[in-house]
């Protein structure tokens, strides 16, 4: 296995066709390179750092920060290992030890693994998907600062001598107000709460990037596995982290406001926390694991010179893993005294998840089977991953076996098990990915010799550390003990573990040395140094900030291996991309794609801004102030955040120029200089999804507590008034229905030529495909119904998408959730002031409007079916769609500060100007 043959990696295997047409990369000397770089460059200087949002820079920062947290968490672990080296050791006090394991677990789970993987996504996805940017650069920027400041806030607990000490799952009642008074648990709940907000923000961005922003031709079936993995992970993040946020909120309310959700003496439930926590906590493990397997699926084919076998199986396995991960949280609770039938069900679910894992393992083995391994460091780490993860997976199946679980639960066996899956299953692939992708951005190869030392130290150190823990667990050693008696026979195993931990740490140290060494003196990496087949290696090295000089057209899963050229394809598409090469690149344009093959629009992503940072500071201030119960400062933070949000979304109008219009006409594609309405709508859908998850968790908690009580209401407490929650829920449902149901017709109608557009399939393409969130299939809705509904919706709140397009790139996204100008023809005279008013009014107004619109639609439709006079209305709608004229005209006029109710077309207005 230690073969040190340095096979050249630029060679390809004989039967693999390679690009005869080399990817077009620009040399630094070319003026276009300079032009593009300048266009996409982040602002320089110290203050520029706070405004920068370029995906590779941000991704790198997130990863760097996460890596620092990883080192911190690792040092905490080493301290613990020193304490446990000897029985009855007094190196650490019990308090300190309990703080350390809490900080270690929380750091690794919340501040290292998830941000690290999200950082990778932001770093890589635009390159991998053949696009220029992530959909919401400012959201990424917000995510980074929130994560960084949240992590710092969490660690300031050391300065206040208020370090959390109840473990990473913070079980109540120990973490409740009675047994953990003071600040520590508030630091845990609120400090990590901020980091969770950051994780969700990045998750939203990743979902949309993968779902909507891929190179032309890259259908779902041609996406890299890693993109699939990130799509599934990011969706899981939305579900899981939202649950944790709600759980944290409930606990914080218990601690600060005096609610009793978790107090069994006053009608609450201790197990509710455990359920909520593990509904988050178990998927959390897979949130880390799924992208890690994505790394492996990317790296294995490259180092055996063979396209991945079993692509479809792997995709199915990933989806199955993502879904099933939400159905087995109870295996963390087999010892709390649940009914046997429930435990049997969850045991079955828990061990069943081994099947998707098995599929993936054997798909990799099959790929290796038909290839020839090249033993470089990334491949070594992948091999280490497979061996270690299989062991961890097998002990995972054991842990799902209820009676066995009763013995080993909360013992060191579990500690061994989850380190096998988290270090073996996640950290090893992360190292593989670092060795593999760092050259893409530094253009320097990491040193191979140091890399091999790094691997072997980490691999051997890992097994020396964690294998003996299985045995100390069998010997009765529980988790989280700061000391143990000498006579129990645990000492030798703990000594082994401690020695192993230091070997492991040495390996990690070598990585850091290797990284900095390579920056200074590493070999220069040629383009596509590994001879890989995926798109990101089709750029120049170091990967330029604008991504691809000419956007590629994708026909296969491994374009660099299997395509003759990256630029051949459908003639119209080709013509468009060639024009794109010359023109919209003068702004930060990215194109985006439907589920199928063709680009559907080109839009301008937002540029550098200080406001996401301000918002982030506001959010941190709120959370930090709440830790100390400084309510006025909380309000201060709220104001800062609100100001930040307003600034962030401040209309930044760029007029569509004649050149862009010409491009639109020539290539039959929509060009949005002010951001994408479709992406915006997706983000709105995700926002609704988030709110729906929150609502579901509350409903779950309510019924859980209620069903636990023999007598309800508890202690004759008055039941909550259902009116307001009812209205809110109805509004939410209406909103969801709206976002899901609204057809994607409006952009087509911008030109007043819906028929042609539908005919050539562009609009249809947008609403087609497996990942469609855009409502019923085109054929399923009767046209007059659709027309009527559109008319009603628009009468109620205008064409939001149009306005979004006009009013700024990120005027609506999950950061705010609203931003749809409410002004109708008569009220929009004040320009964006009225828009701001609505933005400030918050999601409630928005949800209310949606509820109303849906209700009105229902009433109208019922009425219409009975009333013949409605026919005329239908006819009118069909003849002169209101959105093409009056309303669009208003939007445009509005943005000019004037109001016009005349039915001049928006286009005419802007052209005149």
């Amino acid at each position: 296995m230690t073969s040190t043959t340095e096979q050249p990696l630029d060679g390809t295997i004989p039967q693999r066709r390679t690009l005869h047409d080399k990817p077009r990369v620009l040399s630094p000397a070319e003026p276009l390179h300079q032009q593009l770089s300048d266009r996409w460059a982040d602002p320089p200087g110290f203050f520029g750092w706070f405004r920068s949002l370029q995906n590779d820079a941000l991704g790198g920062r997130i990863m760097g920060t996460a890596f620092l947290f990883f080192l911190t968490g690792g040092i905490l672990a080493l301290l613990m290992r020193v304490q446990l080296f000897r029985a009855e050791n007094s190196f650490l006090s019990p308090d300190t030890y309990n703080e350390l394991f809490t900080m270690h677990g929380s750091t690794m789970m919340y501040l290292f693994a998830v941000p690290m993987l999200e950082g990778f996504a932001i770093f890589l996805l635009p390159f991998m998907l053949g696009n220029r940017e992530m959909p919401f650069p400012r959201l990424g920027q917000f995510s980074f600062f929130t994560f960084l400041l949240g992590g710092i806030l969490f660690y300031t607990s050391f300065l206040f001598h208020a370090v959390p000490d109840t473990g990473w799952f913070a079980y109540v009642p120990l973490s409740g107000p009675a047994y953990s008074p003071g600040l520590p648990l508030d630091f845990w709940l609120l400090g990590l709460g901020v980091a969770e907000v950051a994780a969700i923000a990045a998750g939203v961005e990743i979902v949309i990037a993968v779902a909507r922003m891929r190179a032309p031709g890259m259908g779902l079936g041609k996406m890299p596995i890693l993109a699939w993995a990130y799509l599934i992970t990011a969706l899981a993040i939305l579900f899981a982290f939202t649950t944790l946020l709600i759980a944290s909120l409930l606990l914080e309310l218990d601690r600060k406001i005096g609610t009793q959700f978790f107090n069994p003496n006053l009608g609450g439930s201790v197990l509710l926390w455990q359920h909520l926590f593990w509904i988050f906590g178990h998927p959390e493990v897979y949130i880390q694991f799924i992208p890690a397997t994505g790394f492996v699926s990317t790296i294995v084919p490259v180092f055996v010179r063979r396209p991945l076998l079993g692509y479809n199986y792997i995709v199915m396995a990933l989806i199955a893993t993502g879904v099933m991960s939400f159905a087995l949280w109870v295996h963390h609770m087999f010892t709390v005294g649940l009914p046997q039938i429930a435990m049997s069900f969850f045991a079955a679910a828990s061990i069943l998840i081994a099947i998707p894992a098995g599929i993936q393992i054997f798909a990799w083995i099959a790929t290796i089977w038909y290839g020839k391994p090249i033993w470089r460091t990334p491949f070594l780490f992948v091999m280490g991953f497979i061996i270690t993860f299989v062991i961890g997976g097998l002990s995972g199946v054991m842990v799902g076996v209820v009676p066995f679980n009763w013995q080993v639960h909360d013992s060191y066996f579990i500690v061994a098990h989850f380190h096998y899956v988290l270090i073996g299953g996640v950290l090893f692939p992360i190292f593989a990915a670092l060795y593999y992708w760092i050259p893409l951005f530094t253009a320097k190869m990491l040193n191979e010799r140091l890399g091999k030392w790094n691997f072997w130290l980490v691999f051997i150190g890992f097994h020396i550390t964690f294998f003996p823990m299985h045995i100390s667990g069998f010997l009765g050693m529980p988790r989280r003990v700061y000391t143990y008696d000498a006579g129990l026979g645990w000492e030798i195993y703990n000594q082994l573990s401690t020695i192993g931990a230091f070997i492991l740490a040495l390996g990690v140290l070598l990585f850091i040395i290797n990284f900095f060494y390579s920056l200074r003196a590493g070999d220069k990496a040629p383009n596509n140094p590994w001879g890989a087949g995926s798109l990101e290696w089709g750029t120049a090295l170091p990967a330029p900030n604008y991504g691809f000089a000419v956007l590629p057209i994708v026909h296969t899963r491994d374009p660099l291996w299997e395509q003759e050229s990256l630029y051949e394809g459908d003639a119209r598409l080709k013509a468009m991309l060639e024009d794109l090469d010359q023109w919209p690149l003068h702004w930060r344009g990215v194109d985006h794609d439907g589920a199928g093959a063709r680009p559907t629009e080109i839009f301008h992503v937002s540029g550098p801004s200080i406001w996401p940072f301000v918002t982030s500071v506001g959010v941190i201030t709120m959370f930090a102030a709440e830790i100390f119960t400084l309510r006025s400062l909380v309000v201060g933070g709220l104001i800062i955040a609100a100001v930040g949000l307003i600034g962030w979304h401040w209309p930044n109008r760029i007029e569509t120029t004649e050149r862009e219009l010409e491009f639109e006409r020539k290539h039959d594609i929509l060009v949005f200089p002010n951001g994408s309405p479709i992406v915006t709508r997706w983000s709105m859908a995700l926002m609704v999804l988030l709110l729906a998850i929150c609502t579901s968790i509350f409903v779950f908690s309510y019924f859980y507590i209620r069903l636990q009580q023999p007598i309800w209401p508890y202690d004759r407490m008055p039941l909550p008034d259902l009116l307001l929650p009812g209205i809110a829920t109805a509004a939410l449902a209406g909103d969801g229905g709206h976002v899901l149901g609204e057809p994607a017709h409006w952009p087509a109608q911008r030109h007043g030529e819906p028929a042609r557009r539908s005919a050539d399939g562009l609009s249809a393409g947008r609403s087609r495909g497996t990942l469609r969130l855009s409502g019923p299939a085109p054929g399923a809705v009767r046209p007059h119904d659709e027309r009527l509904r559109l008319a009603l919706l628009h009468a109620l709140h205008l064409r939001r998408a149009h306005h979004r397009g006009r009013h700024g790139p990120e005027s609506v996204h999950p950061g705010v959730g609203v931003g749809r100008p409410l002004h109708g023809p008569g009220t929009c005279g004040r320009g964006h002031r009225c828009a701001l008013l609505v933005r400030g009014a918050g999601p409630l107004a928005d949800l209310g409007r949606h509820g109303l619109s849906v209700a009105a639609y229902g009433v109208r439709r019922t009425w219409c079916e009975k009333n013949p006079s409605c026919q005329t209305q239908r006819h009118m709608n069909r003849a002169a769609p209101p959105d093409a004229g009056v309303i669009a005209g208003c939007g445009s006029a509005c943005s000019a500060g004037r109001c016009s109710t005349a039915s001049t077309s928006s286009r005419a207005t802007s052209l005149r100007r």
């Binding site: 079980y171 010892t335 005294g337 061990i351 013995q407 013992s411």
Partner: protein, 341 residues
Amino acid sequence: MGSCNSGLPGSRRRFRITLSLALSMLAAAGCNGSASVLAPRGRAAMEIADLWWFLFWMATAVLVVVLLFLAIALVRRQGQQADEEAAARGGSRIVIYAGIVGPAVILLLVFSATVWTLTKLRSPVVADANVIHVIGRRWWWEVQYPDAQFATANEIHIPSGQPVRLVLTSPNVLHSFWVPELQGKIDLVPGAVNTLWLEADEPGVYRGQCAEFCGVQHANMGFLVIAQPPDAYAAWLEQQRRAAGTPTDPLAQRGQEVFLNANCVDCHTVRGTSATGNLGPDLTHFAGRRTLASATLDNVLGNLGGWVANPQHIKPGSLMPPADLTGVELQALLAYLASLE
């Protein structure tokens, strides 16, 4: 090796010994005298240990197969010559048979074994007299014998060869009751009542420990399960039921005065005296216990002195405050405590 498995029927022992030889490390886990899951002394733990060995061999077989597959895949060289179609067909075959069918069969077996063991672990019929209440305290165990109407601490006496039902509750935070040699663990959940049945085949002392993190002294929240032959157990019950006698030794008498006049009585009960505190362990038959401070120290005079003088030194964060006593008073107090047979 055989000695540590003496409690097992012969065939099982031979089986176990074979395994032990093959797997020295795991065998060591079963055989070095400490409380081990793999050296079961009770029926429930034995069933689970059998299940473990089944799982272990399954897992070993799977691991070997996967690694063999991987090793062959890495060393074989014909692979590269296969054309795309052949590779895709072969790949699908590998994924379907080795990745789906194989695991499905194995998991079905594992699940069957799970359910089978679960049925075997159903609670047997337990005599009313053998119901014991265990209450998780911070950081010690209160043990109540409702039938015999007395309470003790950190030592659970049970009759050997008979199933016993434990009724476990916690008035404070979560704890988890675990005696690896006898039975799997069960949590003590505030607001809920959990039960667990135990049976020790042979008389003996089995160490247990709290397994759910419960605060600063979670690590030192141990206990002993002491299985006695039924007649010895009955005698023990009889002896425990009695109130504490009046000390005859003058030093101990002096100690009783110290005890009753100090803040000890706020937390501790000695039946037959005016001490009726209920925050700390019942001390009525304290001297009969084997350990101090939740199985942290042996119950000998030296340890006791250190513990009473400053519990914070031994269990930092413990809820017992240091005793504010002079040396003479302490001497007397220790003599009194030692007299509480």
